[in-house]
Amino acid sequence: MTDSGRVPEQRGVPEASLRTSVRDTVQREGARVGFLFDDSGMVSAAGGNPGDLEPTSFVSLSFAQFAAARDLAPEATGGELSRLAQVGGRCRFVLSSIFGGRTLALLFDDAPEALHDTRKGGSSGPGSYPDVMDVDRAAQALSEAGSRRVEGLGVNWSRDAEGEIDRIFKGED
């Protein structure tokens, strides 16, 4: 492509497998929503239903929290941090380190009474951690497949984008 305006198809098997593994994990573990994001905090796959949650805010804060905790772990313990969980009265979320510097954030709607049920909602009841092996394997397979050249979006796309930038960022200078 790229100036026809058509979207290039880049649906490689490893990428599709990674997205599917995230959706399946969200469902199997009984999470409300899950986001897989990379080491720059950008979402690469998602599953479930965010409802009122604003995904970008959730991911941004999850990214910051996990990165901070992960950097802190070697200082404090000499080891690595692969999981981080926070539990509240009405929900909890679990952040898991995934191959290639990625992080999987899973948000669960757990009622307070469910906190003592370690098997509620798949393998990741409040007393245990979710099983993220499928996502980890899919991420590893994606890395092994190697990075493929990605076509640019074309001058027409960037021209249209510049028009939108002028429209959105039009504030008075």
Binding site: M42, G152, D173
Partner: protein, 192 residues
């Protein structure tokens, strides 16, 4: 480094405001937040201390809408300017697509500006990034204050490469969108 997700037809670009402490990075972002159509922006997140000093980052997602079938979004971040928060600054720079360096025009902040610029180069270098290939602009902020350096002096100190630069009074919005537009357009050009 922009993330193009062909499957979900999404493009996410990360723009980072960098610079010395109290230089006006958060003020820039607050102005953008206050003036961009609420339908085009998400919630602004500020992880700040009780005295409103940026502790980790400020974050504002801005949605450009669907452009030729791609939902396009800018993620605007500021970093904490205080010297001892370098780990946070370095983390936020990961995967950056465009950088706005907000310099404090006051003469007494000249050394701090230069230190912040060096810190930017060092942190980018640690990731193997080259500022010559990343969309980059400089804003000389606080032009309304007394005891400021001339733009020529600031250019000599901070902009020997001649990247796009702008005068600003961020607290009044002057130069805020001009700078952001310039870097944003450079970023989308890299996606050609």
């Amino acid at each position: 480094m922009s993330m193009i997700n062909y499957a979900s037809r999404e493009i996410n670009c990360k723009i980072v405001y960098y610079g010395t402490g109290l230089g006006g990075k958060t003020t820039n972002l607050e102005w953008v937040h206050s003036r961009v159509d609420p339908e085009s922006r998400g919630k602004m997140i500020s992880l700040a201390t009780e005295t409103d000093r940026t502790l980790f980052f400020d974050f504002l997602p801005v949605d450009l809408g669907s452009i030729r079938g791609f939902k396009t979004r800018f993620h605007l971040y500021t970093v904490p300017g205080q010297v001892y928060y370098n780990a946070s600054r370095k983390l936020i720079l990961k995967g950056v697509d465009g950088i706005i360096f907000v310099a404090d025009s006051q003469a007494q902040r000249a050394e701090a500006n230069i230190e912040a610029m060096h810190n930017l180069f060092e942190n980018l270098e640690s990731y193997g990034y080259d500022l010559e290939t990343i969309p980059f602009a400089i804003q000389y902020n606080k032009r309304d204050l007394d005891n400021i350096l001339s733009v020529e002096d600031l250019r000599e100190q901070l902009n020997p490469a001649g990247v796009p630069d702008f005068e600003g009074v961020a607290i009044e919005g002057k130069g805020v969108f001009e700078t952001l537009r310039a870097v944003s357009k450079l970023v989308v050009k890299t996606l050609n």
